[in-house]
């Protein structure tokens, strides 16, 4: 009787082997394409620059920024009103969401365009005003709320409805037997979204709206690192103390109070707005029905294909990088490894990295390393990797290991990773959509992705071109989302916690 041969490397049909092949494929593809990416370091002495930044962070100068309280109030006010109006629009849409394909498509479209791009677009009509800031958050958030609320409502337990007496109207049925059953989930998601809105609101400063990000950007750009450090601390404190001031009873008062700070409100010229929407955004040859002219118009868009290629490449690199970072970092915050001080430190680092928006991280790396894809790659990988690592560590903490005697390396490879890997990969694929969205956006810092051309088209007042590029960006985003959805592991082995929708808390 011949003994069966041991299977070859990564051969086999178990779930984890399939996942391993899938992720190694992703990393291999990234490595093959890496030579096409521009990864040059162009600054003279990046380490010295980093040292100056860190010393700024350690010796912050809180008094250097003028009108800091105003910037903080605006940041909170924009985030709060953006979320609030997003809920007001998104909730009714969520009720229609399962029934209308057109609605689902439109929501996917408004979601696919980053808040900052919306801000750039709205800026042309409403100027640097609160209308621009709030609408830039409200529009994509309405699309997001519509989708996520619809998903939550779909999971409403049926039993209370079945128990109702005959003849109860739809509305009464909804508010008594359906809505209360999912209220907790709806409000916790809304709360989480508000936290995302805070980050986005800070970022609105990068297009010139006077939030915290505006001062942060100028302080960094002008090398005033003590001031920049202080602003960063303020930002982290604001996010970390959210549970203190973001109380349900307090928020309405903050919302009302902030109204007084949000002005002056712009005069909206209806005719001008209509002209912008009906004429300025569309290529002239298209409006005239001149098809050969339209062809020529296409030809005049600079570097369209390289920009798309760069966006996809950077997205791929960011996804692969996040995978590696997440695999390396999650043990830092897990109770299965290290001791209390190392875990505290590890958690702290992960929270810092996931709270810092990619754009801000990329901007900081850009100042250090000079303009290339490298800062963007680092920012995407670190931010998303840390975010995934944090969630994976939380899942890991719910696992009770079978044997305690294993050394740390075997505990990682044999006990924990096999149970966590499916969840980790699912999070990564959920995240892929966000990564590609951010990738396009990072172009605003001068990296040659689509965002760069969108930004410069707006700068040259070529609205038709900017709008066309926005459409391309949205299309790309929707396509990548569909692709990621296809390759996302469905049968996740052993992930405690939010079963079915592991990615809901990882989408901003």
């Amino acid at each position: 009787m011949s003994a069966e041969r041991a299977p070859g490397l990564l051969a086999g049909d178990s779930l984890n082997l399939r996942l391993a092949r899938r992720s190694l494929g992703l990393i291999a593809l990234c490595l093959i394409l890496l030579p096409f990416a521009d990864l040059a370091i162009t600054t003279h002495d990046p380490w010295a620059e980093l040292g100056r930044m860190i010393s700024g962070l350690l010796r912050p100068d809180i008094l250097a920024t003028q009108s800091l309280p105003h910037a903080i109030a605006l940041t909170i006010g924009f985030a709060l009103w953006g979320t609030l109006l997003g809920v007001v629009l998104g909730f009714p849409l969520a009720l229609l969401f399962p029934r209308s394909r057109l609605l689902r498509g439109s929501c996917a479209f408004v979601r696919a365009i980053h808040e900052l791009f919306w801000a750039l677009l709205l800026l042309q009509v409403f100027g640097l005003s609160a209308v621009t800031a709030i609408a830039a958050l409200t529009i994509p958030y309405a699309g997001i709320f519509a989708k996520v609320y619809a998903e939550i409502l779909e999971l409403t337990p049926r039993a209370p409805v079945d128990a109702l007496p005959e003849g109860v109207g739809r509305f009464s049925r909804f508010v008594y037997a359906e809505l209360p059953m999912v209220w907790a989930r709806l409000s916790s998601y809304t709360r989480y979204r508000f936290e995302c809105a805070m980050r986005s609101s800070v970022l609105l400063g990068f297009v010139g709206l006077p939030t915290l990000g505006f001062h942060l950007e100028s302080a960094f750009r002008e090398g005033r690192y003590a001031e920049a450090g202080a602003l960063l601390w303020v930002f982290y404190l604001m996010i970390a103390s959210l549970h203190l001031w973001g109380h349900r009873r307090l928020l309405p008062w903050i919302a009302l109070g902030s109204l007084f700070l949000l002005g002056p409100w712009p005069d909206i010229d209806g005719a001008l707005l209509w002209r912008f929407v009906s004429v300025d955004l569309w290529p002239n040859p298209l409006l005239e029905g001149n098809w050969s002219g339209l062809w020529q118009w296409f030809g005049e868009i600079p570097d369209l294909l390289p920009a798309i290629g760069n966006t996809l490449l950077l997205g791929l690199m960011g996804t692969a990088g996040s995978l590696v970072v997440a695999l390396l970092l999650w043990p830092l915050a897990s109770r299965h490894f290290g001791n209390r001080p190392t875990r505290m430190a590890g958690k702290g680092v992960l929270i810092l990295m996931r709270s810092t928006p990619e754009l801000m991280l990329a901007f900081i790396f850009l100042l250090m390393l000079g303009p290339s894809m490298l800062p963007a790659w680092l920012a995407l990988s670190l931010h998303n990797g840390a975010l995934i690592a944090f969630l994976v560590a939380r899942h890991a903490d719910a696992i009770v290991p079978g044997s305690h005697a294993l050394p740390a390396s075997s505990r990682y490879t044999y006990e924990l990773l096999p149970r966590l890997y499916g969840g980790l990969l699912a999070l990564l694929f959920y995240r892929a959509e966000t990564i590609i969205r951010e990738t396009a956006l990072l172009g605003m810092l001068g990296i040659a992705t689509l965002g760069f051309h969108i930004d410069s088209s707006f700068a040259y007042l070529m609205f038709d071109q900017a709008f066309f590029l926005l459409l391309i960006t949205a299309g790309l985003n929707i396509a990548v989302d569909a692709l990621a959805r296809r390759y996302r592991p469905r049968e996740i082995a052993d992930t405690p916690g939010e079963r079915g929708h592991p990615g809901r808390e990882a989408t901003c």
Partner: protein
Amino acid sequence: MSVEELVRFDGEALGHARHTVLADLTLGLRTGERVALLGPSGVGKSTLLAALRRRLGQRAAWCPQEHGLVPPLSVYHNIYMGRLERHSALANLINLLRPRRDAWRDIQALCGELGLEELLKRPVAQLSGGQRQRVAIARALYQARDIFLGDEPVASIDPHQARRLLSMIQRQHATCVIALHQRELALTHFDRAWGLRDGQLILDAPARELTLEDLDTLYPDAHSPDASPEPA
């Protein structure tokens, strides 16, 4: 016979879309009859009750198990839902924010009888299993119908209280069909017993003609020493 027959099944099959739970069912429910529905769990008691509920429509109050309640809402609101169809959508909405005075008074009285008087404002999620069942019964009583259909309404309630609650239900409803697993109660509080086993109605007899041994035959494991259904 002068007594009106409310429902009649004549060799019918009951079940879900593709799966027959009760085959060839023949039985009738008459006005003024108190029926205990017995049988091992999963045999189709709920299916039969659901069919009765469909046939009787607005004439029957319905008391499902506790999972029919809405845990985040208060006891008051859960009971109020028994009459949700009698008020306009707007009145119902306002009631969520500020209880109606008349409904509050009625429900308070009802809760007094059921030992829930201190709990009107408490969310159902914070109640014990037995308290939840009493809320479910209160909701069915609040519906104020002629007929009572109950799916194990006294399952996790102690025997003494179970008797009291059954008497209360029967005082308000001359006709009732109640699924039970306490066989003794079936003999003491009901006129008739229906027994289901293996997808069939194998027992349909007046309670006074039955003994506990007759009821034991419904349960496949009744003769093994430790598997008899919880003693009541």
